[in-house]
């Protein structure tokens, strides 16, 4: 008898323990959620050779957005509140792996929408699958122009995505050409003649380099392009080649992402190639993560970099809150791709609410096309899509389903160990914080 009592007591205790989380939810929650949830797939790189740090930041942003939306009673459709359930998939930065994850998202997880994607190659490889399966998608970081242009343009021998009437893919990160235009305009303003571009051998690096090269050459500059593999650690033999050139370059432009750009920039500085009085160093946007940057590029003072996203001094309340939350987690400033990913989840959520459906792809796409939301990076809207399908002559194809207003600025460090919040914004002129378009190494603004 005594034994039975003990067994029953233990069973009851276990049952209570198992029910505890539910109890907490019921106790703290103020929302009545529907039985089923809305699944959003987050396709991010969480393993090498992908940009793991970027993937973790994006994964954090998706979960943070889902938490915020759920705290606000989730997505309301036909009077029912649906909680968002996040399903994260690791793309490893590889197109094949990305396709496998998307296949799993569609067939096994049955996701209702997808966001994320850091690497352009993954975006290009998966956008067709997502479209064919009518999954509303908002990419938040791939830059390759074709990611959005393929909505209306043939790509890789295949018809444009909207050939069947609906294109399900949107993008809230800038296209490479939007960024390249700002960088080249700035350098042309400075009067550079001899440019060296070091570009990664990927679907991001190569088109971006081609675009910038064409712009430089159109302005009369001489361009030398060197392609490198992502993940390379030792760049010294390649950099020695630049150093041996008869003419010292006016600028070395780094079109290499992630950790690899840190190694490259540091070795460039160690060898005395750039930044110097004669040669401008333009490194990758990851330099904005100042904690990481100074740890890994201790000689990188006076390097300039392009910054995507609203400048810190113009952060909205939501951006400030997001930044504080990110800093608490990672002890660094929130990167633009985390902000964009956070915003992308909100865009999807509001699109579903507006469409009144979590599964009608066409209706959700139409609602997203009509988006007009103020989020962490500013006001979101999509100028061109099925609601406005005719791009005026001269408007690039990548403006299709593309958020047209990502702010792209050039920033520059001018003090060792400086926070990127204090770095100088040097271009465009309207955003300049220190009244100068370039700070020559060894000087102060």
């Amino acid at each position: 008898m005594k034994r039975i009592t003990i067994v029953i007591s233990i069973a009851a205790l276990l049952a209570l323990t198992a029910m505890l989380p539910l109890g907490i939810v019921q106790a703290d929650g103020h929302c009545e959620f529907a039985d089923d949830s809305i699944k959003i797939g987050g396709l991010v790189p969480l393993s090498a050779p992908g940009a793991v740090a970027g993937g973790i930041a994006m994964s954090w942003a998706i979960n943070r957005a889902a938490d915020d939306i759920n705290a606000d009673c989730g997505i309301e459709i036909d009077g029912a509140n649906y909680a968002i359930e996040v399903v994260i998939g690791d793309s490893e930065g590889s197109p094949e792996r990305g396709q496998a994850v998307v296949e799993r998202f569609i067939l096994e997880d049955e996701v209702d929408a997808v966001t994320g994607v850091y690497h352009s190659a993954v975006g290009l490889a998966t956008m067709g699958m997502l479209d064919e399966n009518s999954v509303p998608t908002v990419f938040s970081e791939p830059w390759n122009d074709n990611v959005s242009a393929n909505g209306i343009m043939e790509y890789d021998g295949r018809p444009p995505r909207n050939a069947d009437g609906v294109d399900h893919v949107f993008r809230v990160s800038p296209a490479s050409s939007m960024v390249g235009g700002v960088v080249v305009d700035w350098l042309n303003d400075l009067g550079v003649d001899n440019v060296v571009i070091i570009a990664e051998n990927t679907d991001y690096g190569q088109p971006a380099a081609a675009d910038e090269k064409a712009r430089f050459e159109a302005a009369g500059a001489t361009v030398t392009q060197i392609n490198v593999e992502l993940g390379t650690e030792d760049f010294v033999p390649i950099l020695s080649r630049i150093q041996a050139a008869a003419d010292t370059p006016d600028v070395v432009r780094v079109l290499v992402t992630g950790e690899t750009s840190f190694n490259l920039t540091q070795q460039m500085a160690e060898l005395g190639i750039a930044p110097t009085e004669d040669t401008i160093c333009v490194t990758n946007q990851v330099a904005f993560q100042s904690e990481q940057y100074w740890l890994n590029v201790p000689d990188g003072n006076y390097c300039a970099f392009n910054r995507v996203g609203i400048i810190p001094s113009l952060f909205s309340d939501l951006a400030v809150e997001l930044n504080a939350s990110y800093f608490e987690e990672f002890e660094d400033i929130v990167p633009s791709y985390a902000m964009a990913t956070y915003d992308a989840v909100w865009i999807i959520a509001k699109g579903m609410e507006q469409a009144g459906s979590k599964s009608d792809g066409a209706a959700i796409v139409a609602a997203i096309e009509a988006t007009d939301l103020d989020l962490s990076q500013g006001r979101y809207y999509f100028e061109y899509g099925n609601h406005n399908p005719d791009l005026p002559e001269g408007t690039p194809a990548f403006m299709w389903h593309q958020w047209p207003d990502p702010v792209v600025t050039m920033m520059q460090y001018f003090e060792q160990g400086q926070s990127s919040l204090d770095a100088a914004v040097i271009f465009p002129q309207v955003y300049q914080t220190h009244g100068t378009g370039y700070i020559v190494p060894g000087t102060s603004p």
């Binding site: 030398t224 060197i226 392609n227 030792d234 010294v236 080649r241 990481q292």
Partner: protein, 512 residues
């Protein structure tokens, strides 16, 4: 190309070589002024003299046969080099396939030589060690001349032959660059000497550090016969142990003194060494010892899988603990780079500047010092000799009182320790992430096979060769982008050639 020269090369040269080969031994006086000339010497002289200078060459050797012994080899090679350089230089159209020789004739003659020469050596019961390599290198560099020479003389082929013929092959490639890629920094005068020196220095510096890691791998293999697939991850954790030690030691000292103190990364090396030594020893005792005690059936597969698993465990545990964000320690020395300023010998001839990054130079000296310390330990200490004895014959070693089980543990622990020290020496130089070992370990396998599995000096030389080949490959490739992209692939070409021509590696010994 000059037509008459080409005709000579293709028709008249071989014709006169054949005439010389046939007639010179028959018409030449066998003894002149006391000098006995063998028939094979005369045949060689006939081939070389005939090919290079036609009837004039045959005549010279006929009238002055004493020259045959003294000068045949030197003259033959010199003339051959001269001829091939003339071929290359006379290719006036840069659009012609520059690798006419390199791609067609060189490999063709290398193939012919590799097929026939070793057979010749075996037929005359001469020592055929290195015959295949020498024949391939010689065929590639000099073509039919070296085949004739080796066929007739079947000389004993020592290391000097290999170096000479290998250098000739490299020289051929260099000459092709000089002719067809005149703007290439490796050949464009007057800066090319400086540039080549710079790239070679880059290669030696980084190669010496590669060597340290590879030495650990080769030590484990030589004693245990096991290739550790966790070596890259042990290298990685070595860097992390150094990083965290420096961080905590710096914080501790700063709190203690109230001043901002950072600890020099040199102190991270012994700390990482000790921790990973213990880790390696424990792993070996638990997971590899049963293998040597006969408790495991499929030993080879087990060794691969268990070390592979250990590597995965280390990588993902580190990812969970340290996170994916790159880390780096402070500098070894506060000198960003050493620069040898330009030295002007004349207005047109100068040397320099040469730049070596300060921390790399320091890490190189650390790497070399540790390798020599290891060599000293292996050669002079009782334990080192015991390790070597075990690597040569485990049973015989056991008979002399050496405990092979302990030697197994020691070798794995030491090998792991060397990988960790290599990591701790490189964390001030490269960004450190949990998967940083993947690329390095692949390179280590190339180095140990290149140098010879089980050979510590081989690993040292192999590492430096890999470093230099990578640097020169990336620096001299006509297309800078391809050079950069294929940087890690260039040593694989050498690796493949070594496997093909000298499977034991440069310093390896035959398995008995």
């Amino acid at each position: 190309m000059n037509d008459s020269f080409l005709q000579w090369l293709l028709l008249a040269g071989p014709l006169w070589a054949a005439i010389g080969l046939y007639f010179l031994p028959r018409i030449s006086p066998k003894r002149k002024r006391g000098a006995a000339i063998s028939e094979s010497d005369l045949q060689v002289a006939g081939v070389i003299g005939g090919f290079a200078l036609g009837p004039l060459g045959i005549g010279i050797f006929y009238f002055e046969p004493r020259l045959i012994r003294r000068l045949t080899l030197a003259a033959g090679i010199t003339i051959a080099v001269f001829i091939s350089s003339q071929v290359l230089v006379r290719v006036s159209d840069p659009n012609l396939p520059s690798a006419l020789w390199l791609i067609l004739a060189g490999p063709l003659w290398a193939g012919i030589a590799s097929y026939f020469i070793p057979r010749r050596y075996r037929a005359v019961e001469a020592i055929d060690t290195n015959a295949l390599t020498a024949a391939a290198l010689g065929g590639f560099a000099i073509g039919p001349l070296i085949i004739g020479l080796m066929w007739q003389r079947t000389p004993r082929i020592g290391r000097e032959w290999m170096i000479a013929l290998g250098s000739l092959g490299a020289w051929q490639i260099y000459t092709l660059f000089a002719v067809h890629n005149v703007s290439n920094p490796c050949v464009a005068a007057p800066y090319h000497v400086t540039y080549l020196t710079q790239q070679t220095a880059n290669g030696v510096v980084i190669g010496s550090i590669y060597s340290l890691m590879a030495v650990g791998l080769t030590l484990i293999y030589s004693v245990q016969g096991v290739v550790s697939f966790a070596h890259g991850q042990l290298y990685m954790v070595g860097g992390y142990f150094s990083f965290y030690f420096l961080q905590y030691a710096g914080d501790f000292l700063s709190n203690l003194t109230g001043a901002d103190i950072s600890v020099n990364p040199i102190w991270g090396i012994p700390v990482a060494a000790v921790i990973v030594f213990v880790m390696g020893a424990v792993f070996e005792r638990i997971f590899l010892k049963p293998m040597h005690e006969g408790l495991i059936e499929r030993v080879s597969e087990y060794a691969i899988l268990i070390t592979f698993g250990f590597g995965f465990f280390l990588e993902y545990t580190t990812l969970a603990i340290a996170g994916p964000f790159p880390q780096r320690t402070g500098r070894f020395i506060e000198i960003r780079r050493f620069t040898l300023d330009r030295i002007h010998f004349s207005d047109d001839f100068f040397f320099g500047p040469i730049h070596i990054i300060g921390d790399r130079a320091f890490a190189m000296f650390v790497g070399i010092a540790l390798i020599f310390a290891l060599l000293y330990f292996l050669q002079r200490s009782w334990t080192g000799r015991a390790l070597r004895a075990t690597s040569q014959d485990r049973q015989a070693a056991a008979v002399t009182g050496i405990n092979p089980t302990n030697m197994n543990t020691l070798s794995f622990a030491m090998g792991s320790m060397l990988a960790a020290m290599s990591g701790a020496a490189l964390i001030p130089i490269f960004n450190w992430v949990p998967w940083v070992g993947a690329e390095m370990v692949g390179r280590s396998y190339v180095i140990v096979v290149l140098g010879g599995l089980g050979s510590v000096p081989g690993a040292l030389v192999g590492g430096v060769i890999v470093g230099i080949v990578e640097a020169l490959g990336a620096g001299c490739h006509p297309d800078p982008s391809r050079g950069a992209a294929y940087k890690e692939a260039f040593p694989l070409v050498i690796f493949a050639l070594v496997l093909l021509l000298k499977p034991t590696g440069l310093f390896g010994r035959e398995q008995t």
